[in-house]
Structures are given as C-alpha cells and as structure tokens.
C-alpha cells in the first residue's frame, strides 16, 4: 500500500527567552496506509510536538508534510483537514471540557462540520460511536468527572472517530491509565484499526506498549530521530546505544537477575540552541571526540534499519 503520510525535513522551533528551542529537528519518515508507526522517546524529546505539527495543530518551522500525496504543510483549510486526520490526546482528565456532557463532546465535531444537521441525527450518530468504542449508553448525559480514566479515554477515541478520519495521531493515549485499563484501550484501538483500516502514529515513552501494535518504530532523542526500523527488527537487532538503554529500562518480571542492564547516567542536554554533534553524546557510554563535533545522520545500517550514530558499526561489531 502507498504512503498516507510523508514527512520531509520537518522542523519545529519554539522561540523562548533563552533562544530557539529545537523541538523537532529535521525529521523524515513515511507511514504506509493502514499501518502504525510507533514514536518512542523520553519526555521532552519532541514526539508530541511532532504529532501536533503533522495534524496542523501547530505550524511547522520548515519542511513538508504530504497527506495522501497532497502537500498540507501550509494549507489554510485546517478545518477540512480535521476530517481526515484526528488526534487522541494524552490526558483524558484534562483534555475533555468539564462543562460538556459525553454526548455533547462526541457530537460537537458533527455539528461543527455540518455532518449531522438535526438533533436526532447527532444523537443517533453519537450512540453508534459510543457502541463502537464500548461505552454504555447510560453515560451519554454524564459529565467527564463522573467517569474513570478508561471510559474517559474511550470518549476521546469516540470523539476522534466521529469525523471518520483516515489517520489518527495517538499522543500517549494510555500513559495516564493504569495497566489493566491500558490493555483494554490498546486492544480497542487495534480492533478499530482492523475494522476501519485506520493509519496510526502512536506516540509513547513506553517501548513495551508500542512493541505489540506498531509496524515500524521510530526512536527520538531531543528532537532528532536516532533509530528507525520495522518493529521486530528493532527489538531483535537494537543498534543505537540510546535505544539499548531504553530497552534495558523495561522491567521484566523475573526472579533471577541475569540481565546486564545499561543504565543511563547524566541529565538530558538542553534542547535550546543545541551545539553541533550527537545530542546523545553527553550520556552515551561509547562517546568519542568525533561525536561531540559532527551531528550524525541517519544511515541505513541493515536493510530497512536506519541509525544515526557515528560509532554504530564499532559498538555492534558490524
């Protein structure tokens, strides 16, 4: 299948009193229709910003975004884009208007875009959507504060689905939920993908979450992509030292402590006016002089497996 999303040299800088904050710096990737791209990275690495720039909630600084072959980087008609691309937000407690009932929240996009003109039509569609995401009808007139996190996130998903988009950015949709609910929501999202042929960009800081539902995984560090490959390939042949550290941080329920863990030391460097050189250099156990001078570019090390590291061959004995 063709690429639904193509992103080329995308940059997003924020002006701050201390200088330019490089939130997203020269990112390139494609997402094939019907597939899921997992975007992984720690807090503040620009993954949420990337998601918001792509669906045009934020304007990019430079670069291009193609949706289904159409350049949408500077399109003025963001409103009609909303019908093609939607977002599920991270925090289901803060992202729902506390003064609106469940049916009002889900139904608002239908009214804004003039899809349903009559009240009965809206009500009918809202009921269908609530069924789709597994929300009982009796919650239609409830307010968000009366529901638990899992149900609230179902509202968020129903809201995103209401305009029948082809592409959904899932911005850490399960990170605010407890583990048992996380699985339910992830299963729901996968079922919806199978049913409707949705394309996802799944943003998370939790590799174990992304492992099961992504076709491709992209690892970000301070606004830059450090490693990108197919999901299984990434877990089988982890090449970048940062990805290795991330994997080592996944807790494994085992009695014997046989695992050799590479733990990261040091603080994340500032994303404001970053110096040239590898951004991970300050925390990298393999750092050499070269790393602090030249910014590494993404190179295809194995078939379909790109890594941005000067020393990747040396570290992995390739």
């Amino acid at each position: 299948m063709g690429n639904l999303i193509e992103v080329k040299h995308l940059k997003k800088y924020f002006k701050t009193p201390h200088g330019l904050l490089h939130a997203v710096d020269d990112v390139n990737f494609n997402i094939a229709e019907g597939s899921t791209l997992g975007v992984v990275g720690e807090s503040g690495c620009g993954k949420s910003t990337l998601g918001r720039v792509i669906i045009r909630l934020l304007d990019s600084t430079s670069g291009t975004i193609l949706f289904n072959g159409r350049d949408i980087t500077h399109t003025k008609d963001v409103k009609s884009l909303c019908r093609e691309m939607q977002i599920v937000f991270q925090d289901p407690f803060a992202s729902l208007n506390p003064r609106m009932s469940v049916s009002e929240i889900i139904g608002e996009p239908l009214r804004v875009h003039g899809i349903c003109r009559h009240r009965e039509e809206v009500d009918k569609r809202v009921k269908e959507l609530m069924d789709t995401v597994g929300l009982a009808q009796r919650f239609a007139q409830s307010y968000p504060h009366e529901l638990d996190g899992g149900r609230r996130q179902r509202i968020g998903i129903a809201r995103a689905l209401s305009l029948e988009p082809r592409f959904i950015v899932c911005d850490e949709p399960v990170s605010a939920l407890d583990v048992s609910i996380q699985a339910q929501i992830l299963n729901l999202m996968q079922d919806l993908q199978d049913e409707k042929g949705l394309t996802y960009m799944f943003i998370t800081h939790d590799l174990s979450v992304v492992k099961h539902i992504s076709n491709h995984i992209m690892v970000m560090y301070l606004g830059m992509v450090v490693e990108m490959s197919e999901s299984d390939e990434l877990f089988d042949h982890t090449l970048h030292p940062y990805t290795k550290a991330l994997l080592a941080a996944i807790p494994e329920p085992t009695l014997k402590r046989t695992r050799k863990r590479e733990l990261l030391r040091g603080e994340i460097t500032s994303p404001i006016n970053p110096k040239p050189g590898c951004r991970f250099a300050a925390r990298c156990p393999y750092c050499k002089e070269e790393c602090t001078k030249k910014t590494p570019e993404l190179r295809e090390i194995l078939p379909g497996h790109q890594v941005a590291c000067h020393l990747v061959e040396e570290i992995n004995g390739l």
Partner: protein, 328 residues
C-alpha cells in the same frame, strides 16, 4: 432545586436577626441623644427628659430591642424621628434610586470588564493587554471618593459638560455611575483575564481546536463558560460593594438614595432609619448571594446534575415501597 432555594431563604432569617441585634447594639452605645436632636438646643432638660420617656429611650436595652423586634415581625420598621413618616415608606422612596445606580454600575462593569478581560487574555502581552492591565491597576488603587471629586472637577467645573449634583435626568447618572463602577470594571477585567488565561492553557481547548471548531467559538463556548464562575463571584461582590459605595458617592453627588439617607440619619441619631436601612441592605445582600449561587448552577452543569442526582436517589425507594404494598 426548589427545596434548595427555600432552605436558603430560611437561612437568611437568623442572619437578618443577627444584623438587627448588632446594629441595635451599636446604635445603643453611640453617643448623642435623639430627643435632644429633635427638640434642638433651646429645649429645657425637662422637655427632653419627657420626650425620652415618651419615645421609650429610657427603657432598658432588652426591652427596647424586644419592642423593636415585635414591631419588626409585624412589618413595622418604626417611624423616622425627623419626618415622622414610617421608615418603610422612606426607604421605598429612596431604594429605587440606589438600586438604579447599582444596576447601571454593575451593567457597565460587566459590559466593559468581561470583553476587555477576554481580549487581554487572548492577546496576552500585546499593547492592548498592557494598557488594560495598567488601567485596571489604576482603577483598583484610586479611591472612589477621590475619583468622584476629580470627575466633578474636570467634567462639571472645568468643562461644564455634566451636572455635578442632584438627580433630575439621565445625564445626572453618568458621573456617579463611572465613579462607582471604576473599581468593579477593574476587578472584573482582572478576574476575567486571569481566569481565561488559566482556561485557555487547558488541554480541552486544544481538543476543541482538533475538532475543527472556529477560534471565536472556542473562546466563547469552551473557554468563557469554564472561566465564568470566579468572574460571577466577583460580579456579585462588586454589585454589593457598589451599593455600599453608593453611601459615599450619593453623599458627594447629593443623590437622594439609601446611602445619603443613612448618612443623614446617623448624623441626626435617627435610629429607626439607620436600623431599617441596614436591615434592607442586609436583605438585598442575602438575596444577591442566593441569585449568584443559582447562577453557578446555570453556568456549571455539574452543579445542576448534583441536584438531579439527589432526586433520583429518592425515586427507586418510592417504587420499592409501592411494590411491597401490591405484594402484601
């Protein structure tokens, strides 16, 4: 909801009784003799004493308070020592003037304060925001009586555009309303601004953008409704303080309202008028508070559902009771 309103009205009764006790005690300990005030300096001590006896001023405190309360429960606030007219009549003649001043001032502050506050928040740190914040700071710091006198000096004395005192037409309202509402415009502007700033940063505003909602609708429908509760509280307080601000302003602009009536009555030791005036203002305060509490429910549907929930709880029990009867 109705039960809540009735309960709130019943609660005001002890509040009002407390108010009468406090004001009666205060007036009791105030220096000065109403009988002497009525008869003037030329009257002899015997004449004054005779009048004191006649007015019941020589009775012990509790007897006087008891008599007053007894009359009060019959709807009688007593007669004015100065004019001899019933206090109720005196108040009713002057209340509309004060109320009109308070309502106009309140309306003006809402009409100016809320839009300016919204614009200030939406365009934070713009020139408009900076000017508005500065003016709001001035509005809060400048004392009302000083502003009133400056307004008279500029617009009446120097420019001669507006009348300085009295109340004979709409143009007489302009200066008093401006001077009373300056503080509330400033307070409401600041409150709306800070409350909106907080709400605008919320995630659900971003959600509304993702829905494709227009910016104007996002501000009015999603943001303003959530920002309004603290603003409404402030409007209520400002309306009330507008009425008490009337005491000073009516004096300066020589407007025959409740405020001026009470100041004159205090000077003349006209106890029944002072007590009646305070009581009526306390009553208005309570009613205003009730209205504001009801407005909360209107603005915030979560509060309304709380009332509805309570009702629902009672229903199934009644049904169960009915079912038992049938089976028995």
């Amino acid at each position: 909801m109705l039960r809540y309103i009735i309960r709130r009205i019943l609660v005001t009764i002890p509040v009002l009784i407390g108010v009468t006790l406090i004001i009666f005690t205060l007036m009791y300990f105030t220096k000065g003799d109403p009988a002497r005030m009525i008869l003037g300096d030329m009257a002899t001590e015997e004449e004054v004493e005779e009048l004191r006896e006649e007015m019941g001023l020589n009775d012990p405190f509790l007897v006087r308070y008891g008599n007053y309360m007894l009359d009060l429960f019959h709807g009688d606030l007593g007669d004015s020592y100065v004019t001899g007219l019933p206090v109720t009549e005196e108040i009713m003649a002057r209340l509309p003037v004060t109320m009109r001043l308070a309502v106009y001032s309140c309306a003006l502050s809402v009409i100016i304060g809320i839009p300016v506050g919204i614009l200030s928040a939406v365009k934070q740190y713009s020139i408009l925001d900076n000017v508005a914040t500065l003016l709001a700071l001035l509005g809060i710091t400048i004392p009302s009586f000083w502003l009133a006198m400056m307004l008279i000096l500029v617009f009446s004395v120097n420019l001669g555009w507006l009348p300085a005192s009295g109340l004979y037409g709409w143009q007489y309202y302009i200066l008093p309303v401006i001077s009373i509402s300056a503080v509330s415009i400033a307070t409401i502007t600041r409150m709306t601004r800070s409350s909106m700033l907080e709400v605008i940063r919320q995630d659900y505003i971003r959600t509304a953008r993702a829905k494709g909602q227009t910016e104007a609708k996002i501000i009015t429908k999603h943001a303003l409704k959530n920002a309004l509760i603290p603003v409404i509280t402030v409007i209520g307080i400002q309306f009330a303080s507008g009425m008490s601000g009337a005491v000073v302003n009516e004096q300066i602009f020589a407007i025959p309202g409740i405020g001026k009536m009470m100041v004159d009555a205090i000077k003349a030791r006209n106890y029944p008028v002072v007590q009646g005036g305070v009581l009526i203002i306390a009553l208005l305060f309570s009613i205003l508070n009730l209205i504001i509490d009801l407005l909360y429910a209107f603005v915030d549907p979560r509060i309304k559902t709380q009332y509805a929930r309570k009702k629902e709880k009672h229903k199934p029990q009644e049904l169960a009771a009915g079912g038992e009867e049938v089976s028995a």
